[in-house]
Amino acid sequence: MLELKNITFQPNSSPILSHINLTINEGETVSIIGPSGSGKSTLLRLMADLISPTDGQCYLNGESYINYKPEQLRQTISYCPQTPIIFGETILDNVSFPAKVRKEKCDIKRANYLLTAFNLSQYDLNTNVSRFSGGEKQRLAIIRQLMYVPKFLLLDEATSALDHHNQQLVEQEIFKCHKEKGLGIIWITHDIKQSTRLFSRRLTIEKGKISNEEVIK
């Protein structure tokens, strides 16, 4: 369970998020919508412990974030940034990074499975990624995030550069992890249809506050 209690983030004079209260259960699927600049990414970065609130605290399973090691927390609640970032030179450099973090061997079978599921099977692990298109980078970044399935996956407009078909492939695979492994999903999107189609709850953020909360199914 993920809880945000009275969270305010105010790096300068005006707050970017103010007095956010939010509880997300294990395995829940939540979409976040709201205008540009309203604080959606900031909210997810707070949940991923990439920044700390200036006031209030986040809790995982009733324990304050402060009591977790940052690395342990981020492997449990994993944030996929808004701009897809590619590591190193090859696909392997990217998909093997989560294994490197855990000092384990890269699960090549899973990597190939995900590449196929995300419609990237025409490439192999040694393919150079420097000329990847925006949408290919976006898919590779999500694959990297799914090499180990976390408890909560925080997606920041993860399919913004994808056509309808590829968007559905990505959704299918992510929601498969939800069904089979109890992955909790928190997904920022500007696509209203996407937000009603898939999720059990929808939050609207406006001017740093949760202005609306709807239960969808």
Partner: protein, 249 residues
């Protein structure tokens, strides 16, 4: 070389000053100040060295080396990244360790004698190279962390520790800092006849002996710059992170 010929030689400075003025490089003032500084500093050092040149007392030798070290560390302060505190002390530490390791090895192996006229010129060269490497390191570290902060954060969000998250940036920074020393070693003799070697030859030392000295100095420079940058970078990169392993820039 007489004093008058030196004064005539100073007319060489007119060229860069004119170029700087014409091209609006805005360097004239900097150049004049640096030349004046160089003259004053060299005259003072010249007098000091004349007095202590044959000294062997450890205290004199060590004091002089320490003065060089402190000046070098002071000279790195401008390049210390904003996020890094105690830059002077980090640089001083890096310089002290790198200089003492290399100098000690050379003294113990008998390649160098513990005399002012050997220790001071050699340590001056080593420290100045290490200082430049540290400065390049600082500049690039700051650049790497600000320009590639998204990559670092993406790695942190996968649960990487700071060292792994910024490994590429640290490696690149280290490389950039040491490459000038490696490159100049590559061209030794072909492009550059280094200052000390030329000096020895002009002063009448047989070329082969001067070369032996130069080879030793090249070894020293390579290992000292590597040690110094490694220490300075590894201490300072940590300060880009806070206790929660978040980037604080």
């Amino acid at each position: 070389m007489s004093m008058t010929s030196l004064i005539f030689a100073s007319s060489l400075l007119i060229i860069p000053i004119i170029v700087s003025y014409k091209q609006q490089l805005d360097l004239s003032k900097d150049m004049i100040i640096s030349v004046l500084r160089a003259i004053i500093q060299l005259i003072i050092v010249g007098y000091i060295l004349t007095f202590v040149f044959e000294a062997r007392q450890p205290i004199i030798v060590i004091t002089l080396v320490f003065i060089i070290l402190i000046n070098a560390a002071l000279n790195t302060r401008k390049r210390v990244p904003n996020a890094v505190k105690h830059g002077f002390w980090i640089s001083l530490f890096a310089l002290v360790i790198s200089t003492s390791i290399t100098m000690t090895i050379l003294i113990l192996t008998g390649a160098l004698h513990f005399k002012v006229n050997e220790i001071i010129p050699v340590s001056g060269m080593v420290i100045s190279n290490a200082m430049i490497a540290i400065n390049i390191g600082y500049t690039n570290l700051e650049k790497a962390f600000t320009q590639q902060r998204m990559e670092i954060e993406a790695k942190l969000s996968l649960g990487a520790l700071p060292h792994l998250a910024s490994k590429t940036q640290i490696q690149d920074t280290m490389k950039m800092a040491v490459i000038p020393t490696i490159d100049s070693a590559k061209t030794l003799g072909i492009v550059a006849l280094p200052g000390m070697m030329s000096g020895l030859i002009i002063a009448g030392t047989p070329p082969l002996e001067a070369i032996r000295f130069q080879i030793m100095v090249t070894f020293m420079l390579l290992s000292a710059t590597m040690i110094a940058t490694m220490i300075a970078i590894f201490i300072s990169y940590k300060q880009f992170y806070n206790k929660r392993h978040q980037l604080n820039i």
